[in-house]
Every structure is written in structure tokens, then in C-alpha cells.
């Protein structure tokens, strides 16, 4: 290491000290420790990035998993089904909520990952789904869960269509802001339409569903139920991806003009992906309502939208399994950080930054990376 680099690093951290100083009061002593850790991590990652062996190992793993997809899926499913037998009720609750987020992330992946449309207020659809179920089954007790479930999906889908028709004519970041606006509008209405939504207090006493003689009452049963729904959603998304729909979506993401010139109705395909996402989000919302038994606007903040988006990106944009993985990571990981209690979110934010900086393509890599690995082998063989 050259002396110049060291001076540079020194100034870098001194400057950081300076900006954090006003907030720290007497606790400045911690900072150098943190800086030292950050510095060390940076060095390590640089080493890892330069080390071709590690890169090749990762590619090997990606290819291997891609080749034994069925086996991998069966294995994961078996573990997922068996998990409740060895978990505490608390852990099952956490896992169930991870399942719901996984549904959301898979749904969002359709628009963000496949069509390349950034949606920032996605939780709005989730809220619509949850409130539809809440209002139908508890507030006015109009029908049972099994009727409310599809209706929740459809209600969210309707919102998606109503929002999509004007909004999808916009491009990129403008569209993102409009969806962000939608999320906020939903939340503000939920807070203020007291008679319908219960206002800030929300809706209480939403019952868990029953099916004939069985109720899906126990945490464990509900977990399985959510798992089944997730499996269906993932299957549906995967099948769409590997069909003309998925291809058209990706084509639009890559180049709208070329896609249109090849006869693809860009607007309708956008709207389709948007409303499908909304539908699945509504279904997830419905499950959320019955899982909690209680919903209020506080559960549907911008932060939740961001969280779901992070799941998609963290797992690897456009990667179906990536979205699910991202969801589990982001829900289960903070649980392990519980011991840090108040520092949990601080660490979480820092980890998010670090993760993106060091693994910009997400944990599992985008669809592209996996294919590049295969294509490289072709090129090598040719």
C-alpha cells in the first residue's frame, strides 16, 4: 500500500468523523472501531473481487444450481414444509410473514424485474387487498374469507388498471413517482375514511379462515397455507416468464421502440404486468389481514414499499427465485439482529449499502448473469 493511499484514507475517515461529531456527544470512541471494521471489509472485498478463483467458484455454483433446478426446488420445498415441526411459534410467525413478503416480492418482480417499470408505492396494492378482506369479512361481515380472497386480488387489480391507464403512458422515473403518489394516497385515504376503514385505528377482529370442518387457525397451519399460495404464485410467475408473455415483457424492458416495431402492443403488455402484480399483491394483502387479525394504515407505509423493492433487487432483478430469497433474507435477517435491539435498523441500513456496493447484481445475480455463465461456456467450446 502506498503512502498516498494511506493519507487519502486518513483524510476520508477524519472527514467522516467530523460530520458525525456534532451528533455523537460523548460517544465518539465507538466510531474509530466502526471505521476500522469498514476499512478492513473494504480491503477484503477488493481482494475477493480481484481473486478470480472466487468469481469462478460463484459462476460454478450458479451453473450447477441452474442445471439441477428441479432437485433444488424439491429440496427447498421439502425443507420449507418440514420447518414448522422444528420451530417455535414465534419463528413460525416470522417465517409466515416472510412468506407473505415473498409473494409480494414475486409479484413486484413482474413489473420491476421483467418489464423494467419501477414501482415505488407497491404496498398500496397490498393495502387495498388487506382492507378489502378486512371490510368484507370483519367490518361489515358480508362474506367469508374464501370469497373475500379472490375479491381482494381483483380489487387490487382494479386499482392497478385504474392507476395504470394514465400512469403507464409515462416513462421511467416519472412513472415511479406516480406510483409512489398512489401508495401515499391510499394510506392517507385509509387514515381518513373513518366509516369505511376505521381510520387510524384500523379494523379489528378479522378471523382466520376455515375450510369445512378445518380452521386454518394454528400458526403452523397458516404457515402451510401461505406456503401453498406462495408456491402457486411462484409457479405462475415462472410459467409466464418462460412464455411469450415473459419474452414480450423483457423485450419491452430492453427496448420499447424495437418491441413495438415487432408488433408488440407495449401499453397493453405493460398494463397486463402491472395489473397481474397488483392482483398477487392483493392476494398477499388478504392473507396478511387474516394472519394479523388486525390492520391499520401503519402497516402500509412507504418504508414497506421500499422493503419489498429491496427484496427484489437484493435477490437479483428479474430472477424469480431471487425475489423469494431476498424476501426471506430481509425478514429473517433482522430477527437475528434483535440482540442489537436499537442498533438493528442502523446496521440494517449500512448492510443494505454494503450489499449493493459489493454485490451490485444482487445475491443470486440477475437472469442475465446465469445465462452469461452458460454462454461463456458455449463460446469456449466453439
Amino acid at each position: 500500500m502506498s503512502g498516498r493511499r494511506l493519507t487519502h484514507d486518513l483524510f476520508f475517515y477524519l472527514g467522516m468523523l467530523l460530520i458525525f461529531l456534532p451528533f455523537m456527544g460523548g460517544k465518539v470512541a465507538y466510531l474509530p472501531v466502526v471505521f476500522a471494521a469498514v476499512w478492513g471489509l473494504g480491503r477484503f472485498v477488493r481482494f475477493a473481487g480481484e481473486n478470480r478463483g472466487i468469481v469462478r467458484f460463484r459462476e460454478g455454483v450458479v451453473t450447477a444450481v441452474a442445471e439441477r433446478q428441479r432437485l433444488a426446488i424439491a429440496l427447498i420445498l421439502a425443507v420449507a414444509v418440514g420447518l414448522p415441526f422444528v420451530s417455535s411459534n414465534y419463528l413460525i410467525e416470522v417465517l409466515t410473514s416472510a412468506l407473505l413478503y415473498a409473494i409480494l416480492a414475486s409479484a413486484l418482480n413482474i413489473t420491476v424485474g421483467l418489464t423494467g417499470v419501477l414501482v415505488l408505492g407497491f404496498i398500496g396494492f397490498y393495502a387495498v387487498g388487506a382492507y378489502t378482506t378486512g371490510i368484507l369479512t370483519a367490518k361489515f361481515a358480508l362474506c367469508n374469507f374464501w370469497v373475500a380472497l379472490p375479491l381482494s386480488g381483483l380489487a387490487a387489480m382494479l386499482c392497478g388498471i385504474l392507476l395504470g391507464i394514465p400512469a403507464l403512458r409515462l416513462k421511467g422515473d416519472y412513472l415511479a413517482v406516480v406510483t409512489l403518489g398512489f401508495g401515499e394516497i391510499v394510506r392517507i385515504f385509509l387514515t381518513n375514511l373513518d366509516r369505511l376503514t376505521g381510520g387510524p385505528n384500523g379494523i379489528l377482529g378479522i378471523k382466520r379462515p376455515s375450510l369445512g370442518p378445518f380452521t386454518i387457525d394454528q400458526p403452523r397451519e397458516f404457515y402451510w397455507f401461505a406456503l401453498a399460495v406462495l408456491a402457486l404464485v411462484v409457479l405462475a410467475v415462472a410459467r409466464l416468464v418462460n412464455s411469450r408473455y415473459g419474452r414480450a415483457w423483457i423485450a419491452i424492458r430492453e427496448n420499447e421502440m424495437a418491441a413495438a416495431a415487432l408488433g408488440i402492443d407495449v401499453f397493453r403488455k405493460h398494463l397486463l404486468s402491472f395489473s397481474l402484480s397488483a392482483f398477487f399483491a392483493g392476494i398477499a394483502g388478504s392473507l396478511f389481514a387474516v394472519k394479523q387479525g388486525f390492520i391499520s394504515p401503519d402497516s402500509f407505509t412507504f418504508y414497506e414499499s421500499v422493503l419489498v423493492l429491496c427484496m427484489v433487487v437484493l435477490g437479483g432483478i428479474g430472477n424469480v427465485t431471487g425475489a423469494v430469497t431476498g424476501a426471506f433474507l430481509l425478514i429473517v435477517l433482522p430477527e437475528f439482529l434483535r440482540e442489537f435491539a436499537m442498533y438493528r435498523m442502523l446496521v440494517f441500513g449500512a448492510v443494505m449499502v454494503a450489499f449493493m456496493v459489493f454485490r451490485p447484481h444482487g445475491l443470486l445475480g440477475s437472469r442475465l448473469i446465469a445465462r452469461e455463465a452458460v454462454d461463456r461456456e458455449d463460446a469456449g467450446a466453439a
Binding site: A236, R239, L240, S243, R244, Y245, R247, A248, I250, A251, E254, N255, M257, A258, A259, A260, A261, L262, G263, I264, D265, V266, R367, L368, R371, E372, V374, D375, D378, A379
Partner: protein, 259 residues
């Protein structure tokens, strides 16, 4: 021969600047027609206006006698008017096969439900489209690379992929925007052969091109654009002799384009 594509006085203006003014052309069925002219003459603008990418501000466009003015690009494409782009636009993160399959989209018939349930009809349709896509890749000489990602193609290969993709629409008329720009003579020869083969399949070809050997070698007729206006049209040798064309484009100077 009847006219398959005609424009009636189309004009395009961008923010007050006229890019195309009062251009009327008739494209005859089965011919190879070239549009030439200096850069900025409005050739690509003409393609954009015809295909609905940037609709004309005045005038009308007819395809097989039906008016298509102001229709969306995808509607125009489905009616049988396919195009390639000057700046290459392959779907970089898709394989070659998938790229061509996008062009088959308007011929695919399976619905959402069949796709989700993976019905037999779905499988049959998918197989049919893939078969056709493979044939097209073979047609342009890319069959061995069908599983490669489009981003890993060379420049010339990308141009070929664009043509295959446009052909996947099974168009009546194919618009090619500078198909041989930047290619060496061998590759140019291959494309010339390809364009002739496309015509024998009953597809009318309209192309924008700077390469005079290509233009003079395979065109049935030529239109010349300059400053957004049509300044000449006719058979290759007529156009070559037209003094306005020489002045505006071909040039007599010692540094005139020689290739």
C-alpha cells in the same frame, strides 16, 4: 404491378423545424426500392413517419390500399410493415432465438390461461414458433448461435439478427435502415444476396442505404431525398445521371464517397 405502400404528401416537423415536407412515394409490390440522400435529408424520419414511430404532421399513408396514417407502431407492424433500425436495437439480454420469437409474437395464439396451465395447445404453439424462428436464423446464417445472448454478437451479426427478427413478422413490406452500413465488401455481398432472396419470397423491400454499389446493384427503383424533399426518382441509371442528385449527394469533388 400494383402499389403496396403509398404516401400522399406526408410532412413531419419537429418543434417548428420541418424534417420532411410533402413527400409522396409509391412502392410497387415485389420491388426493391432504395431511398438515398445525404445524412439529415429525412430518410429515417420518413421510415418513422410511415411506421407510426413519429406520426406525420400532415399527409396520409396507405398500405395495400388501406389507410394506416396515425396508427401505432405495433398496429402497423401487425398489418405487415416491418422495419429494421439504423442504430441497432437487438434485445441484448435475450438469446438470438428469443429475439426472433419476439417477432413471432403477433402470430402466437396461446392465451394466458393456456400458458399458466401449460396445455398441449401451448406446447404445440410454442414448438411451432420456435421452429419458424430457427428457420429464420438459418436463413440469415446465424443458426449456430441461436442460444447465444444477443449482446455477445459482432456488429455484422447484429444486423443479420435485426433482419431475421423483422422477417419473423411475416411482413408484406420490409423497411431496412442502412442494412450494410459499416460492413466490409464480403458482408455487403452477403446482405445483397439476402435481400434478393427476401424479395423472391414475395416481400417488398424498401431500404435506406449509402453504399452506392449495393444501391445501384440491387434496386429496381430509387428515390432521392434532400432537405426533407423528394428531389428525384427513377431507375438506377436515371438517378445516377440526374444533375440535382449529383449536386446534392453524389458529388463530384475529389473527396466524394468512393465506396
Amino acid at each position: 404491378m400494383s402499389d403496396i405502400l403509398t404516401t400522399d404528401n406526408i410532412s413531419v416537423a419537429f418543434g417548428g423545424v420541418s424534417a420532411l415536407s410533402g413527400v409522396s412515394v409509391e412502392v410497387r409490390e415485389g420491388e426493391i426500392l432504395s431511398i438515398i440522400g445525404p445524412n439529415g435529408a429525412g430518410k429515417t424520419t420518413f421510415f418513422n413517419a410511415v411506421t407510426g414511430t413519429f406520426p406525420p404532421s400532415a399527409g396520409r399513408v396507405f398500405l395495400e390500399g388501406k389507410e394506416i396514417t396515425g396508427k401505432k407502431p405495433h398496429e402497423v407492424a401487425r398489418l405487415g410493415l416491418a422495419r429494421s433500425f439504423q442504430n441497432l436495437k437487438p434485445f441484448a439480454e435475450m438469446t438470438l432465438l428469443e429475439n426472433v420469437l419476439i417477432g413471432r409474437e403477433s402470430h402466437a395464439v396461446t392465451g394466458m390461461l393456456a400458458t399458466l396451465l401449460r396445455t398441449r395447445a401451448f406446447a404445440a404453439d410454442e414448438e411451432r414458433q420456435q421452429q419458424k424462428a430457427r428457420e429464420l436464423l438459418a436463413f440469415v446464417g446465424l443458426e449456430r448461435r441461436q442460444e447465444s445472448l444477443a449482446r455477445n454478437l459482432t456488429y455484422g451479426e447484429r444486423k443479420m439478427l435485426e433482419i431475421a427478427r423483422a422477417l419473423a413478422l411475416e411482413p408484406r413490406v420490409l423497411l431496412l435502415d442502412e442494412p450494410v452500413a459499416g460492413m466490409n465488401p464480403t458482408e455487403t455481398g452477403f446482405v445483397m444476396e439476402l435481400v434478393r432472396k427476401i424479395r423472391t419470397q414475395g416481400i417488398t423491400v424498401v431500404m435506406i442505404e449509402h453504399d452506392m454499389r449495393m444501391v445501384m446493384g440491387i434496386s429496381d427503383r430509387i428515390y432521392v431525398l434532400d432537405h426533407g424533399e423528394l428531389i428525384a426518382s427513377g431507375l438506377p441509371h436515371e438517378v445516377r445521371a440526374n444533375h440535382r442528385v449529383i449536386e446534392a449527394y453524389l458529388g463530384g469533388g475529389k473527396h466524394a464517397p468512393t465506396h
